[in-house]
């Protein structure tokens, strides 16, 4: 949006809605702050650098990268269920390519593997984009089926689901660099891991794209009113297809982080993560219909879910309650959004 939004004093109801909307945006920040405060009081280690940066941020970075791609898709009015499967395929491709090229030495093998994963992830995203935008199939149906297809692809590539170990290729130490590498911009005691740096790079690039480029502007336009954008001469199909393609690329980046962390590529890994990503984006305030939303809000959503998870771990709460609590938070946030919309109309 250009400039500052003028306070809607001239429109009584609108002002109320704007206030409500701001409140809703603030709610999630406040919720995050309260939870962090509570955690800090309960456990002195919570606010330590190790817990915040290593446990929280580093662990969240892979999913946060996918959440960036998902936010693009969802602002454009779609959504993507196939991200976790796409990530699994990318992990498998990484290991297979490294295995095939390991005789060339570690650097060429890893570089080619990274490039192949990027091509595969982006390509699979483009398939979604093509089907949704150009063929016109509903995004739920498209990505539900590609979710299954990509998962199957990963199984085929691993001969029915064998776990592929990076250690078996002899590149374990070299590849794990993507996870273990530490930068120390704030002094020796305060290191920042490479996954965080990768996430920041993706995040900044995406923020630039959404906020400052014509493409990002059109993503909002397509999500806001596709018909109007089309009539204004915007190539709406290309814009939509591009969001899915970029989302596919973020899956390949996440695959690198995951693989470096676990050193194992498994066809069945990450199952169910697509819902966690979508949940984070929705909690962040991007509506299912698209047209609004922001990456910063998504980041807050990711962190909120992570902090809750972190807290529940600290208090050794069982998985069953975690699901209930996470579900409740999503329900409350989305309900607030629905009520806000109804009040507007």
């Amino acid at each position: 949006m250009i400039g500052k939004k003028t306070p809607g004093t001239a429109f009584g109801e609108r002002a109320g809605y704007a206030r409500f909307q701001r409140l809703q945006k603030a709610t999630i920040f406040v919720l995050l702050a309260v939870l962090c405060g509570y955690a800090a009081v309960q456990s002195p280690t919570f606010l330590s650098w190790t817990n915040i940066v290593d446990n929280l941020f580093t662990n969240a970075s892979a999913l946060a990268v996918i959440a960036v791609g998902m936010t693009l898709v969802m602002i454009g009015g779609g959504f993507d269920l196939s991200v976790a499967s796409n990530t699994a395929v990318c992990s498998v491709v990484l290991v297979l390519v490294m295995d095939g090229l390991s005789y060339l030495g570690s650097v060429p093998a890893i570089s080619v593997a990274l490039a192949s994963a990027a091509v595969v992830g982006t390509g699979l995203g483009a398939v979604n984009g093509f089907l949704v935008a150009y063929v016109g199939v509903n995004p739920f149906v498209v990505t539900l089926s590609t979710m299954l297809i990509f998962r199957g692809l990963a199984l085929i590539l691993t001969d029915g689901g064998q776990a592929l170990q990076v250690a078996d290729i002899g590149l374990r130490r070299q590849f794990s660099w993507f996870y273990d590498a530490q930068l120390a911009p704030f002094g020796a005691g305060h290191t920042v891991s490479l996954p965080i740096v990768i996430f920041i790079a993706v995040f900044v690039a995406a923020v630039y794209l959404l906020r400052y480029t014509r493409f990002g502007h059109y993503v909002y336009a397509v999500g806001g009113n596709e018909q109007a954008a089309w009539l204004a001469g915007v190539n709406t199909k290309r814009v939509k297809a591009a969001t899915y393609t970029l989302c596919g690329f973020t899956c390949s980046v996440a695959a690198v982080i995951f693989l470096a962390m676990t050193a194992t590529a498994q066809a069945e890994s990450h199952a169910g993560k697509e819902l966690e990503v979508i949940a984070a984006v929705i909690v962040g305030g991007t509506p299912l219909g698209g047209g609004s939303g922001s990456l910063f809000a998504t980041l807050t959503g990711v962190l909120l879910l992570r902090v809750i998870d972190n807290l529940l771990t600290q208090f050794s709460v069982g998985t069953e309650y975690r699901n209930v609590i996470t579900g409740l938070i999503i329900a409350v946030v989305v309900t607030a959004d629905v009520i806000a919309k109804r009040r507007r109309s």
């Binding site: 949006m1 250009i2 400039g3 003028t6 336009a221 806001g224 109007a228 089309w230």
Partner: protein, 488 residues
């Protein structure tokens, strides 16, 4: 544009229409609702790729395939349905599609967007704030945003599709000044409007469309407004119909202080057994809104009593049980149940009667009931199991009507029951409505076709801008009087 033809399914919206605009003239396009004005302009705007005929623009033949192409040629359409993006600011909406951006980085130049938008607004002198979010503006100002968006790039041909329908008189004056200014600069302008009174002030030539054909093109000066309306309504004015035979009886429906979205002032009226009451008004005057509020399709205020008993709650299913039926305005999206057989479409409102005690349905009962309704409605072909989408628009409409006739309602609301169907089927539907009234059912008929109202109604309520303005009864109802009452 030569011999332009456009079909929607089986119905022809445009039939060999010739239309041209010269540089530096305002060419008005008039006609009743559904005459094909908007469709013709949508063809020009590249909204439909599948049209017949040929278009020549600035001396070169062109084939319109998408809106972007029309835009690049310099054709801009201000559409009737508001096409703005609610979350965007005024400036962003005005510049949408032409954003200045860095060649390599794709970086948006927000300052340039704001400046370009401000320049347009200053040029036309509209009262708009660039930074305001469009979703918060009223409809009138959203229209201004659209007009500004169309003017922002130097277009060669501008189409205004009912621009004044939601504007106040100040803004209309401003718009006229802008249009005259543009004409002086040599632009071609197409001006579509229902407000015939404003045409002499702005138009150079007029083309009248009727039922998808050109009824005539002439210089504006040679027309009196009465002549225009006659031309719009056509010779059908002359074809008079048999006298109304229905006799209104006891009051069956009492509506008091009905309010709701789109109704500016609460409406009250009574309806008698066997009476046909019309509701006339332009699109957006609140006709459909009254029907929906009455039927409980929206949250609405006021009270509705059937035969002296007030309905405590109004929702479509409760109204159906109380004996009220409604045929909605949009057959495709609200009327037929697409993709399902004719039988299901015919039986949907009477399943309670057709089902056994535990809610089981018997195939034979369903089929025989559907077959009898189809026969009564003369639906062609009378095949209960055929998919509803296979039927023509007229037969689909008969199916929707039949659905309610089967339910034997004591009050039936018909919202544009003859829109987009051919003359033969129209006459059949008129016959059915008359028959229905004679059998004692009270009918509310909403229509844009004044002849239809004049032919059938015992009484007509006239709406303007969400208010009940006038009531015409029996002998006072003619197409001309309605026309005048609605447009004044």
């Amino acid at each position: 544009m030569r011999r332009i033809t456009k079909r929607f399914g089986a119905t022809a919206a445009l039939e060999a229409v010739d239309f041209d605009v010269r540089a530096g003239e305002v060419h008005a396009l008039v006609g009743e609702n559904g005459a094909g004005k908007s469709t013709l302009m949508n063809v020009l705007a590249g909204r439909f790729a599948d049209y017949g005929g040929s278009i020549t623009f600035a001396g070169k033949p062109v084939r319109m395939t998408c809106p972007r192409q029309a835009r690049l040629l310099g054709i801009r359409v201000i559409h009737q349905d508001r096409s703005v993006i609610g979350n965007f600011t005024v400036a962003e909406n005005i510049i949408l599609g032409d954003e200045p951006a860095g060649r390599w980085t794709g970086r948006l130049n927000r300052k340039a967007i704001a400046a370009a938008a401000r320049a347009v607004i200053d040029r036309i002198g509209f009262d708009l704030n660039c930074d305001e979010v469009v979703g918060g503006l009223g409809t009138a100002r959203q229209t201004l945003v659209e007009i500004a968006a169309a003017l922002h790039r130097n277009a060669k041909l501008l189409v205004f599709d009912e621009p004044t329908a939601s504007l106040g008189s100040d803004d209309v004056e401003r718009l006229f000044r802008v249009i005259r200014d543009l004409r002086r600069k040599g632009l071609g302008i197409v001006y579509i409007s229902h407000r015939l009174a404003e045409l002499p002030r702005i138009a150079d030539r007029v083309t009248v469309l009727r039922d998808g054909r050109v009824a005539g093109t002439r210089p504006m000066k040679s027309f009196a407004i009465a002549q225009l309306s006659e031309m719009m309504l056509g010779r059908r004015l002359g074809e008079m119909f048999g006298a109304r035979k229905n006799r209104p009886g006891e009051i069956v429906l009492q509506v008091r202080d009905l309010s709701g979205p789109g109704i500016s002032r609460p409406v009250s009226f009574d309806l008698r057994e066997g009476e046909i009451m019309g509701i006339a008004g332009l699109v957006g005057s609140g006709r459909t809104e009254i029907a929906r509020a009455l039927f409980g399709a929206v949250n609405a205020g006021g009270s509705v009593s059937m035969a002296g008993r007030t309905l405590p709650w109004r929702r479509p299913h409760l109204c159906r049980r109380a004996g009220i039926g409604m045929i909605p305005e949009n057959r495709k999206s609200q009327g037929i149940i697409s993709g399902r057989p004719l039988a299901e479409n015919l039986n949907i409102a009477i399943l309670e009667r057709l089902s056994g005690r535990l809610g089981f349905l018997r195939r034979n009962t369903l089929l025989s009931s559907a077959a009898s309704t189809a026969g009564r409605m003369c639906i062609q072909p009378p095949e209960p199991l055929a998919n509803i989408d296979m039927f023509s628009g007229g037969n689909q409409q008969k199916a929707v009507l039949g659905r309610w006739l089967a339910a034997n309602p004591s009050v039936l609301i018909l919202d544009e029951p003859t829109q987009g169907i051919d003359v033969g089927t129209k006459n059949q539907i008129y016959g059915l409505i008359a028959e229905l009234a004679e059998s004692g059912c009270a009918v509310i008929l909403i229509s844009s076709e004044f002849i239809e109202l004049a032919r059938l109604c015992n009484r007509v309520l006239v709406l303007r801008a969400g208010r009940l303005k006038q009531q015409l009864s029996a002998d006072g109802i003619t197409a001309e009087s309605l026309f005048e009452a609605c447009l004044r």
